[in-house]
């Protein structure tokens, strides 16, 4: 018997009613693998990831995680019902809590975390998601080892942290949950080159320790160092799947995505 894929996304449709943002997304991730998503701003990468983790419901298609279906099977409710209050008349098709507890951990883009809680308190909540997969104190040591800065600031409230520090805490929170698959949505967005380097290195360390990843980033070189397969995301569709061996250069990708005559 072959091992099931870690993540198997089949024909996923979704968006913000009534606006469809992405359609027919197919994405496969083998055990122990890592994939990158690359695409222009506003084309729906974040929306797709929010659907994966159950924050918003998929419209169509299926999501399997370690062979287990995460979404409620069957088609979405009929159009007539969509005019009524979704939270009252429709059963949710995904459950974010269950997804997190299954080990699919999503570190969202620009995570603001909990402004009035301290770093240590924030990290202490994570066992809800790890649901017994790992010992909290060991995970904490690992996070502090990876991000010494987080350890230094553990008694500070989140709202007093810098953007880079907050991003470190956000990734730390993800690690505390003992992820079987870690989703990082633009982890280095808006950081100074120095911090970006520090964070990239930490993510590389996480990858080398064997954690499967889905990473969205605008830096092809960084993605290339991290992943086995690159998906190009274009207007809410996967326009190409590229193996690491034939990874194109940045210019080639720009050409692929925007055509020959793009400046």
């Amino acid at each position: 018997m072959t091992q099931p894929l870690l993540l198997d996304v089949r024909g996923l449709d979704g968006g913000y009613e009534p606006l469809q943002i992405f359609r027919k997304i197919d994405l496969q991730l083998a055990q122990g693998g890592a994939v990158g998503l690359f695409g222009p701003n506003g084309h729906g990468k974040t929306t797709f990831l929010r659907t994966l983790s159950g924050i918003i419901d998929p419209w169509d298609g299926n999501i399997f995680f370690e062979g287990v279906q995460l979404n409620r099977p069957g088609p979405r409710g009929s159009r007539r019902w969509r005019n009524f209050n979704y939270d009252a008349v429709t059963r949710r098709r995904m459950d974010a809590k269950a997804v997190a507890r299954a080990g699919l951990i999503h570190v969202p883009q620009g995570n603001l975390l909990f402004p009035d809680m301290t770093v240590a308190e924030t990290l202490s909540i994570a066992p809800y998601a790890s649901s017994g997969r790992a010992s909290a104190s060991e995970r904490l040591d690992y996070v502090f080892h990876l991000f010494p800065r987080v350890k230094e600031r553990r008694t500070s409230k989140i709202r007093f942290l810098s953007g880079g520090e907050r991003q470190m805490v956000a990734i730390g929170v993800g690690l505390m949950a003992a992820p079987k698959l870690l989703i990082l949505d633009e982890p280095t967005l808006g950081l100074s080159p120095k911090l970006r380097g520090e964070l990239s290195e930490a993510i590389l360390t996480i990858r080398q320790s064997g954690v499967p990843l889905i990473v969205v980033d605008q830096d092809i070189a960084f993605l290339e160092s991290l992943i086995d397969v690159l998906y190009l995301f274009d207007h809410g569709r996967i326009s190409r799947r590229i193996e690491k061996a034939d990874m194109p250069t940045h210019e080639e990708i720009m050409k692929l995505m925007f055509g020959e005559d793009h400046q």
């Binding site: 924050i55 997190a100 507890r101 909990f114 202490s124 809800y128 949950a177």
Partner: protein, 295 residues
């Protein structure tokens, strides 16, 4: 004003303050976690008192004060969660949940009030004093019953404070309040936590109702004046910290006691509101709130 009068006023103020603190903390719990204001909180107070009366009073089931209180607190916890699922949850992701919940909780308050009226009638009832006699503290004579009410309030508030600060469930509750989506992604069951917060708030209302019923008297509208005071307290104290409304409750309680003495029962709410407006204009985050603009 003799020293004795001042002592009496102080005592009255402290008793009021303890009750307001219980109610305001219940309100603030829902306000901070769900971001809504529960207008049915006053009716929860009355319903809690009547359930306790029904079980405890010798005119009804006669099971005694302790059993009555327990049934009332647990019952109100369940009723609170039910009210959440029926009146709040359907709007959980609606951007104007604040407005919609004002309407639904006001409606819920009216419905419950009428049910109380049908079940128990509009006439005043008394739960009766649990403890009789007086005790002396630093030369002051205090009724045991009132002293116990204050002590119970403070104990419950302390327990709640420790729960929110230290217990995983309490921490998760604060987390949900600050960032619902991030909390969901961390595996927290947001809907269940909201229901628990609402239930806890209703249980606190029940305790307040029981205490009022035991040191004063009860009627179907007994919660509406305390609800207004609790609202003042929450706004006055700010919700940035758990302790904000508690300090404010004692300040409002003492102010009310002095005002009632100085300007009479009729004018004291007016003066209280004037003071509240002045505080709000000067410090919109509340007396003990810190400004939250910094990132």
């Amino acid at each position: 004003m003799t020293l004795d009068t001042i002592a009496l006023i102080l005592l009255g103020g402290v008793v009021l303050g303890a009750l307001y603190a219980l109610m305001a903390t219940g309100l603030a719990l829902v306000w901070t976690t769900l971001g809504i204001f529960n207008f049915a909180h006053g009716t929860f107070i009355a319903l809690g008192a009547y359930i306790a009366w029904q079980i405890a009073s010798t005119d009804a089931f006669g099971a005694g004060f302790v059993v009555g209180s327990l049934v009332s607190v647990i019952g109100m916890f369940l009723i609170g969660t039910a009210v959440y699922y029926l009146l709040i949850k359907p709007f959980e992701r609606s951007p104007d949940i604040v407005v919609k919940s004002v309407i639904t909780t006001l409606a819920g308050a009216t419905i419950l009030e009428n049910l109380i009226n049908i079940a128990w009638g509009p006439r005043n009832k008394q739960l009766g004093a649990v403890l009789t006699g007086d005790i002396q503290i630093i030369g002051l004579v205090i009724s045991r019953n009132e002293a116990a009410a204050v002590a119970v309030s403070l104990l419950i508030l302390a327990a709640l404070g420790i729960f929110l600060q230290r217990a995983p469930l309490g921490r998760a509750m604060r987390a949900v309040a600050q960032n619902r989506e991030a909390a969901q992604l961390m595996g927290i069951d947001v809907v269940r936590l909201y229901a628990v917060a609402f239930g806890l708030s209703a249980a606190l209302a029940a305790i307040a109702g029981i205490l009022i019923g035991s040191i004063r008297f009860m009627n179907p509208l007994m919660g509406s004046d305390p609800l207004m005071k609790a609202l003042i307290v929450v706004i006055f104290g700010g919700i940035a910290r758990f302790t904000g409304p508690i300090y404010a409750a004692f300040i409002v309680g003492l102010l009310e006691a002095f005002m009632t003495y100085a300007v009479g029962l009729y004018w004291s709410p007016t003066v209280l509101f004037v003071i509240m407006i002045v505080v709000l204009v000067a410090k919109p985050e509340g007396l003990f709130g810190k400004h939250r603009k910094s990132v």
